[in-house]
Symmetry: C2
Subunit: 540 residues, 2 copies
């Protein structure tokens, strides 16, 4: 029987084969000194010490609460590098006392009432794919008990309005289940974060996840028609409206609230027919990132609204098996369920070919051209790439097991400041890696989303880790990069959320008086401060 | 010298000519009994009694504060029908004590500090075009004085970032000044509410104004990159970011806050090049609204994102001089600064011609075809229509002077409920008009904005008013319509804002716990409750 890994990504046993691990090590050996690495291997769960279970569960709720070691271990961390490394080290100190598995919204209300009464911390848990400490009970010692509230049993498309093209979907629905249910009616939400297989609608909404579209509607936010939440003070539901100007948007206030203000139980989402018209093209540029970036800006400012417009620097391209490490690439893809998109691609081609761009044959572009995901004309190639994209986190885990440092960070900045910003952030990573991981490092970057007024750069860092000090080394890089992002005017996160890892930086980014508003809202909705303490907002 | 009317729309003396008034009366006489009307005429300002001026102005602020009768009278009301009628009746009971005219953000801070110290109410005032009581001091008796804080001197494009296509614009900038400043660089904000000439950026932001685009980006919200506000507890500024997932959006929280949580002083707005490619077409449908509406839905769900997609029922068309009162019309327009839009129009034509639609020759469509405003291929015709559109409020004032009831109301609803919703709202208006204005009435409707999941219907009501009871009669219609909208699941406003007229209904629409969040934010940012009391949020 397939079961979720308690320490790493996805399903146990679905990671990289020994052969691929060996090949990966050999490839990295050409770029950095991997000689002194100390490999980690997952401990047996029965050998790992869990902190005592302290919760008192009333008999009326016993059927909704579990506390077996596997569930507690699996709900201890998200899936950040520092989470995986701690899991591999057998460190489960912040494990929740119990895992609650509500089967209905009423169950969520009952569980919250119990926790509020007892003063237990409640950490909402969707797919557990947070890479920012969003589900970790760092507050454990400050509360008599911690409840991980896993919404996985609140699953499915609950209502479908085919006329308005909207669906009410339970918050605990995982990506594949959600798409399968909508596909039966020829519809799709088309939200494909890399965590797609192991993340849920509720998690996407609570964290303002970034999805498939690289322009126009980039975050899940724009697809929300209305939300339902449960707070310790009761439930809340916004009206289903296609648009409104009646006061500040309640939906927008709870999008990004990361479980600190309430627990999202379901949402009416705008859905769309599955695309049938597709066109895509990849272009190469003879430098690192800047010309391709310039073209991406023109594309984002064209009003063409491509479904995809990704820029990869030469290192990203190299890793993706495209080019020889001297050229950057821009991938453009259009799609529609209604009309041909060839004219749009033709105009995009004109834009992309400026500044020394060169179109790449599909065969040459290889996997890269299918980064259009569902956009690709070649459905099989798209599925191959999609599989590769979604399996990315397994690769990350394999590197962690080899003793490598590997992680991503991401932000957004307006175009006028992009060049110096990108350079400074990159340099901060490289400089700090040289200190903490002197065996060499690779820092790659790409643009995941482009806007008329700016872009979201995304960095991947790989370096041989100092044995025994992986988390500290990574934290040093994270702090250096985050400080640089803040000082240079970026956002501490474009789509990975704030969680606990970004919280100290977010506290400096958020306008102070708006921070006070969030705290006032917290006091109003969660007077005892039991909801996801320390996530998003300062607290224990 | 041109000067603003103190009781009605726009510039004194720019209303309808006596000839046009006579023609209008004759036209209406064919539809309803206008025999018993009692005409109103604006009183001389010197004959109107203003309430006493109670504010104590410190000498350091005297240069920023005026209290002459014309300014006080002009800042007493917005421009709702009930405002105009009360002005015509010489009723200025809620006049502010003084009008403050800050010349800088620092002045706004100083004025707020003074008002906070004295406990004076402060009503932010942009262009004063509110049709929902947004600038009216109904709280006058509950405060020792009321300050109308007019931002008109905070005007102009303060910074321009051509690379990111963004501009920081002062909140008090009126539409024409804003567009003229951007036009110098070939740019435009392209936000054209009907109030365009007499409303300001700050007002648009505070009220989530609806603008030019009939699909995709319909409200001003989507063009905001960052905001600056002043509150009694200090200033607040969000980062300039093209996109972010760091917590709930601070901008979205203050958009729609209607001066109750802070005073917007400037904003970085996303701007765009002026369009050069245009295509438009009008289609007729052999019934009232439903087939045209069905086509509009298909269009909104096509992903074509037309700049305009308006539906007019047969009465709207008749008033616009198109058709014989038996057909509804759908106008579709595309535009771009980057690429030809003919292919988009061709596909839209296919969609529009379903369900018995018939294309209308440009000459036949007359003024209607130029409802595309700046979209029209015929620039002169567009300007003619635009002038007509922007002069609409003068027509409204002329009807009020004739003793008519005339006003608009608007909402939004998802497509699945549209048909019954539209019928019920219309019937509520007709039924109540029959009671309060038995001389007959016209109720027209159109769709101002269409979305994939719904539409924003807009109703215009014209009826002979009961002499001496115009406001009461209008209020009866407003209450009946608003109750119906609420009960049937719509929003109390799609783009006219909440103000004071919609406040009791908004209080029932807003999810109660989010209403508490807004009140908590109010206490945090405005502890003495001096900001626009009773607007948006319940209060004195």
């Amino acid at each position: 029987m397939k079961r979720r890994s308690w320490w790493g990504w996805g399903i146990e046993g679905e990671g990289l084969s020994p052969e691929r691990r060996a090949a990966l090590g050999a490839l990295l050996g050409t770029q950095m000194d991997v000689g002194g690495l100390v490999a980690l291997s997952p401990p047996r769960l029965e050998d790992v010490a869990l902190p005592p279970m302290r919760a008192r569960v009333p008999s009326a709720l016993e059927h909704l609460v579990v506390s077996d070691p596997r569930e507690r271990a699996g709900h201890t961390y998200g899936k950040a590098y520092r989470d995986v490394v701690r899991g591999l080290a057998g460190d489960l100190a912040p494990a929740p006392d119990v895992v609650a598995l509500p089967e209905s919204e009423a169950d969520v209300e009952r569980l919250l009432a119990w926790a509020d009464e007892e003063g237990y911390a409640v950490i909402p848990y969707g797919g557990g794919s947070s890479v920012v400490g969003g589900v970790e009970a760092r507050c454990r010692e400050d509360y008599p008990a911690v409840v991980s509230l896993d919404l996985r049993k609140l699953s499915g498309v609950l209502e479908l309005d085919r006329v308005s093209r909207a669906a009410r979907i339970a918050a605990g629905t995982f990506g594949p289940d959600l798409e399968a249910a909508l596909a039966a009616d020829g519809l799709t939400l088309r939200h494909f974060p890399q965590s797609f297989e192991y993340s849920t609608l509720g998690g996407w909404l609570a964290t303002r996840a970034g999805g498939h579209f690289a322009t126009l509607h980039t975050h899940i936010d724009d697809f929300v028609e209305s939300l339902r939440l449960v707070t310790p003070r009761g439930g809340l539901e916004s009206r289903r409206l296609p648009g409104s100007g009646a006061g500040p948007s309640p939906d927008r206030f709870f999008l990004g609230s990361e479980g600190a203000l309430g627990i999202i139980t379901s949402a009416w989402m705008r859905v769309m027919p599955r695309p049938v018209h597709r066109a895509s093209q990849t272009f190469a540029y003879p430098d690192c990132l800047c010309r391709g970036r310039g073209r991406a800006r023109s594309l984002a400012q064209s009003g063409l609204h491509p479904a995809n417009a990704r820029v990869l620097d030469r290192w990203e391209a190299l890793i993706n098996g495209v080019g020889d490490g001297t050229r950057a690439f821009l991938l453009v893809a259009f799609e529609s369920w209604d009309h041909p998109v060839d004219a749009s691609l033709a105009r995009a081609r004109e834009i992309a070919l400026g500044a020394g761009g060169e179109p790449i044959e599909r065969a040459m572009a290889g996997a890269l051209d299918t980064t259009a995901l569902a956009d690709a004309e070649d459905e099989q190639a798209a599925q191959r790439w999609r599989k590769m994209f979604l399996r990315g986190p397994y690769l990350r885990d394999a590197l962690a097991e080899m003793g490598m440092i590997v992680e991503t960070f991401e932000t957004a900045i307006t175009w006028d400041r992009f060049e110096s910003f990108h350079r400074e952030v990159r340099e901060a990573a490289v400089r700090t890696l040289a200190e903490v991981a002197p065996g060499g490092a690779v820092v790659t970057s790409r643009l995941t989303h482009v806007y008329p007024d700016g872009a979201a750069p995304y960095f991947t860092v790989i370096a041989p880790g100092p044995p025994g000090a992986l988390v500290a080394a990574w934290d040093a890089v994270k702090v250096a990069v985050s400080e640089t992002i803040l000082a240079a005017g970026g956002t501490i996160t474009h789509h990975h959320a704030v969680g606990r890892d970004h919280q100290p930086f977010y506290a400096r980014q958020v306008p102070p008086l708006f921070g006070e508003v969030l705290q006032a809202a917290k006091r109003q909705l969660d007077p005892r401060g039991i909801l996801n303490p320390g996530c998003l907002l300062a607290g224990s």
